[in-house]
């Protein structure tokens, strides 16, 4: 038993660590680690991963809320979209064939890789649209010179629609869909990148929690796998986030992009050979 638990813990700690260092979250790495290295069925990996995302976000988001970057109102509005998607996705995960899940996973890895190399800078707009103003979504964040920088928000419907997709992918594939969430806020709603990242991290736990509850209630979570995996990913993520300020992130980014592309190729290949 000790040997198996140690192997699962090792995979989980490594996934959590890389997930935190890359900012992509542990789910992106633990699912392929369980499927490719531990030879687990995709559905088992997805269930265990959703639980891990919940655990990691509980540990990490405490720090994010403290720093004043998270936009609570944006998070609450968009969580309506992600939770709708996640519950639907987790429900469908019980029905959708594995080959489809593998192909979708490969596609999401490519999206994350693309996002990883093409992170945009801040594009602050001064006039929000009608709906964003009515919902009071505008906010401030601490600028470099100590003064608060004000930003407005646009395109709530477009961002919300992409958030439904992000939630759907999260429930289906067991990932946090952080890359897709940040893209929805940054590209579509013109929310500054760092605010988008912090808000996405804040939302992560709720999105994954919605999916995890469906899996748990359905009895689709293998507890003997999920327990060590959740503990390991959380520990790895804590370690990763501690080390993050001291790491040269830009040089690591290329390594992460290569890893993501390799995972996409492996998952895609698995799907194709299954057909």
């Amino acid at each position: 038993m000790l040997e198996i638990v140690s192997e699962l813990l090792l995979l989980a700690v490594a996934s959590g660590f890389i997930g935190a260092m890359s900012g992509l979250g542990g789910g992106v790495f633990i699912v392929p680690a369980l499927v490719i290295i531990a030879h687990m069925p995709m559905k088992i990996a997805v269930g265990a991963s959703l639980i891990s995302v919940v655990a990691t976000s509980a540990g990490a988001s405490v720090a994010f809320v403290r720093d004043g970057w998270t936009n609570l109102k944006v998070a609450m509005v968009l969580e309506c979209a992600t939770v709708t998607g996640a519950v639907t996705g987790a429900y469908l995960a019980g029905i959708v064939p594995t080959v489809v899940l593998e192909l979708l996973f490969a596609a999401m890895m490519l999206q994350s890789a693309y996002f990883n190399v093409r992170k945009q800078g801040d594009d602050i707009i001064e006039h929000g649209d009608e709906l964003a103003r009515r919902l009071e979504l505008a906010g401030d964040f601490p600028g470099d010179d100590g003064k608060n920088v004000h930003y407005e928000v646009v395109n709530v419907y477009g961002g919300g629609l992409l958030m439904v997709v992000a939630g759907l992918m999260s429930g289906l594939l067991g990932i946090g869909s952080g890359a897709l969430k940040v893209m929805a806020m940054d590209y579509f709603m013109h929310i500054p990148l760092k605010v988008s990242s912090a808000t996405s991290n804040f939302m992560l736990g709720v999105t994954a929690g919605a999916g995890a509850l469906v899996f748990l209630a359905r009895g689709d979570v293998a507890t003997s796998i999920a327990a060590p995996v959740a503990l390991g990913v959380t520990a790895g993520a804590l370690g990763g986030s501690r080390l993050l300020p001291h790491a040269n992130v830009s040089s690591l980014r290329n390594v992460f992009t290569v890893i993501l592309i390799l995972i996409a190729l492996e998952m895609g290949w698995r799907a194709l050979t299954r057909m």
Partner: protein
């Protein structure tokens, strides 16, 4: 909303509550793993290979889960640990719900209520689907 209220709830109470739930869940999960090691010989290894072959525990009712945990069954104990873990996001949304309710910001009371309802619906869908 006044910054002080938001600050007090988000910066003080939320982290304390989230950490407590996280620690409680971790302790229950570790306890479940320790029980797995001592339950029956090869309990854990047997489960591991069964899961790898695609077999899962049958879905169990909440009542069965608590009875099982009281009897020291590792699977039931760990399931409770995992449910406790999912209380973290639930508690956070519930906090926000109370915050917006206090502020009489009814649009956001509606949004947070929708999210809470979604989480509860998730459990119900899992039970029937």
């Amino acid at each position: 909303m006044p910054a002080s209220d938001e600050d007090r709830i988000l910066r003080f109470w939320t982290p304390i509550l989230l950490r407590s739930i996280l620690v409680a869940a971790s302790i229950i999960l570790v306890l479940g793993l320790v029980l797995s090691a001592s339950y029956t010989p090869d309990y854990y290894v047997g489960r591991y290979y069964a899961v790898r072959a695609g077999h899962l525990h049958a879905r169990e009712s909440f009542a069965r889960m608590f009875v099982g945990a009281a009897q020291g069954q590792p699977h039931s104990v760990m399931t409770i640990g995992l449910f406790v873990l999912t209380l973290v996001p639930l508690a956070r949304v519930a906090f926000c719900f109370l915050l917006f309710l206090r502020e009489r910001d009814y649009a956001y009371v509606g949004f947070t209520a929708y999210v809470l309802a979604g989480l509860v619906l998730g459990v119900m869908l899992g039970k029937i689907g």
